[in-house]
Amino acid sequence: MPELLTIEGLSATYTRRGLSPVKALTNVNFSLVPNEIVGVAGESGCGKSTLLKVLSGLLRPPLKIEQGDVALHLKGQRIAVTNAREMSRVRWKNISYIPQSSMSVLNPVVRIGKQFGWVVAAHAHLSRADTDARIRSFVERVGLPERVLRSYPHQLSGGMRQRVVIAMATFLHPQLVLADEPTTGLDVVVQRSVLKLIRTLQREFGMTVLMVSHDMGIHYQVSDRTVVMYAGSVAETAPTEALFKKPLHPYTQRLIASLPRLGDEEKRESITGSPPNLAAPPPGCRFHPRCPAVMEHCKRVDPPLIEVKPRHFVACHLYPEPDSAQPAATPRARA
Amino acid sequence: MNSETLATPTRSSAESLLARVWRLRGRHANPQLVAGLSILALFLVIGFVLPRFAPVDPAVWNRLPRDLPPSAAHPLGTTSLGQSVFWLLAASIGNSLLIGLGVAVVTTIIGVFMGALIGFVGGITDKVLGVLIDALIAIPTLPILILFAAVFKGAASVTALVIILIAFNWPWPARQVRAMVLSLRERQFIDVARFSGQGTAKIIVREIVPHLLPWAAANLTNTVLVAISLETGLAVIGVSNLNYPTLGTMIYWALQYQAMFLGLWWWIVPPALATIVLFITLFLCSSGFSRTQGGQHA
């Protein structure tokens, strides 16, 4: 299948004068194909949000790409995310974004319908009446009553607001939607229905959704494939089912083990220690100070990301490379 | 928790204000405040030290020849009333600053305590005094000040003037302090203090007031500005105490004797210029102070 987005050897840093640079992303490789939901998991500070910033092409100092290549492939055309002009042309039309907090992303003093209209008007050439009619039917499609268009943000519940934002992000049928913790701050019932909505729209339009969340439970529910990040690198990536059935990386194992399960009275184990300081990351494998299976080797050599099973990649010395002929130096994760 | 740990935020906030101002010389210089404080220091020297060396009392009329242009003997010339403009200006700057500082210090003290009190006590005290404060802020003070001063007809002593200015100005800091106290109240250490059985007054003095120090410095300089501005306004239209040399009365006499149209620029330009520079200086200090506190105020 042709790739929609490729990330190759991406390293990015936050550089502030007088402070040592923070290596937010180190040698990240993976790609997205059309029509899938890919989850990105990891603790806060693992590079999830930085990754989203790079992908959306909204790079502002102090964030800087040090190395690597990130590109969109739209209708045979290749667009590097660093190309600001091209990115602003395709943004929202081809690649859109669902932000973390829908509480504050809508203009508090303007009716929803009007804000929605501005979004459409900025990207599509439609008549006023046509725009209005399409917005109305789309809003109903995402499960909202028509009156929300005449409402102000403060009159809607958190779930309704998030549905509005999802509608705005998917109205133009983009090929790629970046979702940044889209259900934070919603209660569990609403959270489920919002996730279901994203899933439905994704299937219907054949979009690709990159879903960033610290919550492994969410990835279990909606992601086709999950990328586990640790300290700015990919630790493991696999089809979600395989990942949850048999996680390989000790970090992934801990993440999944810490999930609460129904009818389970046992106390969940949580991961001890805290993520490393990315201004001065530990040598070797970045997880080794917290790893229960740490070996001498781990403290010196950074494990490459290798495909140990079909479509299942892991960066850990516990899993030796099956075939030395494979170019391990520049691994390319492909699904 | 013992009182020592409770006092920690208190002390550190006072310390950090000093530290922040001190750090001006270092990396995180706040150029506004540095400039403001330096020029203000110059004004203080001109206003309070220089007049001690005046050869003749500049307030007394007809001690010198009239209408002399600037010369070596009279650096800024003389007025139509036979005063040395240079020494008169120095004394006026001193007196204006004195009025401003007097009003500002008392106003800030009253404002901080009233605001802290009603913010902390809350309830009916808050409602009643809150309404009074809002009303006093909304009322245009100048016509009432003029009414008051006119009844005295120039006989109002400077002290009376200062008292009136204080009476009309304390609600501004009180309102801001009240808002700050309300947000401070939410913070935990106040609850801790209350549970540990300290009285309301004690809590206000020990826990809240010191938190307001950074803001108080900004407010103080700002009130100096407002007070000098009001006194100058009253003086320029001749309802202040006209025998007391201030920047305002100096401008008043210059205008009365048509200095502008008679070409005696050395009489009218120095006080006007000094007033403008003084206001800018005070504003730089006040906004500089409010920047050092790192967005703590509302």
């Binding site: 932000p99 900025a122 | 009414l147 100058t232 620029w265 006007a272």
Partner: protein, 334 residues
């Protein structure tokens, strides 16, 4: 909610007027009797030019005004009665013209000067502040900020004085208008009258505009700098909305809320400052009237202007407060 908002505002409006007028009533009564007597004797000496009947009427009125007749409560009640009917008695300096008539003649000049110059300053300051705050980097905006910082803290009348000095030394031929219009012009809607009024209002208006402009510029700049980091502005930029929409409907629109509140709050000091500016330019508004009243010890006129000032400023504030819910839907529908 709207009803509650309006009733709260109305209540505080009435309270402001009540407290303000009460202060106007009591302030002169705190003064030592000697001061009151000084004014009365001054008024008497002016009264000696009048016929005996008029002088007697004036004396009566003075005694009443100064609270030398009846109990304090009776005087207070009488004061309110007169204040509510707008009857502040005859002017002493222009006896027997009623104070209300003098005020009504002066009021349009002040309102015209204030409304026009405040509006210009508010609109210009907000627009320029918007751009300066949104496009932070740019030497031009820095220079504008420095100018605003240098002008804003200076009171109108001092700036007015500086303007007079500058204009009269730098452009000696510039016709500085003193007074309302050129001498001898009859009020009316003739072109000549309007042009003359405009010319004479130019410098006082300019000093008010410059100072207020500085304030609105600085506060709007600070607001815009904060607003452009608000989630909804960042999200609007991410969605690729038109820049005009973002500036106008997101940043400016939301900054209007605090700016209107600020405008309502600043009315009192703007009004006070404008009164002094008028005096400096002998502009025939309330300020100059107040000045002549103070100079002549025209007690009735002073009280009338002070009371009217309280009511006028409070009313203007109320109108802005009532306008606010139209701007903020969170007040309208909650």
């Amino acid at each position: 909610m709207v009803l509650r908002y309006i009733s709260t505002r109305l209540l505080s409006y009435l309270l402001i007027i009540f407290i303000g007028v009460t202060i106007v009533f009591f302030v002169p009564r705190f003064t030592p009797v000697s001061a009151a007597e000084a004014i009365i004797s001054q008024a008497y000496s002016q009264g000696s030019f009048l016929d005996p009947d008029a002088a007697e009427a004036m004396r009566e009125n003075l005694l009443e005004s100064f609270g030398l007749q009846g109990t304090l409560l009776e005087q207070y009640g009488g004061f309110w009665r007169r204040a509510l009917t707008g009857d502040f008695g005859p002017s002493f300096s222009v006896f027997p013209t009623p104070v209300s008539q003098l005020i009504l003649e002066a009021l349009p000049w002040t309102v015209g000067l204030l409304v026009v110059s405040s509006l210009i300053a508010w609109v210009l300051g907000n627009l320029m502040g918007l751009f300066a705050g949104y496009f932070e980097r740019g030497a031009g905006w820095r220079v504008m900020e420095a100018i605003a910082v240098a002008i804003y803290p200076v009171p109108y009348y001092i700036l007015g004085l500086a303007l007079i000095l500058m204009v009269s030394y730098l452009f000696p031929t510039f016709p500085i208008g003193i007074g309302g219009v050129a001498i001898g012009l009859e009020p009316g809607f003739s072109l000549e009258f309007l042009l003359s009024a405009l010319q004479n209002a130019l410098l006082p208006a300019l000093s008010i505009v410059l100072v207020s402009y500085g304030w609105w510029f600085l506060s709007m700049k600070a607001l815009a700098e904060g607003l452009k980091r608000e989630d909804y502005v960042v999200f609007a930029e991410t969605m690729g909305l038109r820049r005009r929409t973002i500036l106008g409907r997101f940043v400016l629109r939301n900054a209007m809320l605090p700016q209107v509140t600020q405008l309502a709050m600043s009315l009192g000091s703007v009004f006070s400052g404008a009164l002094l500016t008028e005096v400096l330019f002998a502009y025939p508004g309330l300020g100059t009237l107040l000045y002549t009243a103070a100079a002549n010890g025209d007690y009735n006129l002073l009280v009338g202007i002070a009371a009217l000032s309280v009511v006028a400023v409070a009313t203007a504030g109320l109108l802005l407060d009532l306008f606010y819910p139209l701007l903020d839907p969170r007040v309208r529908y909650a």
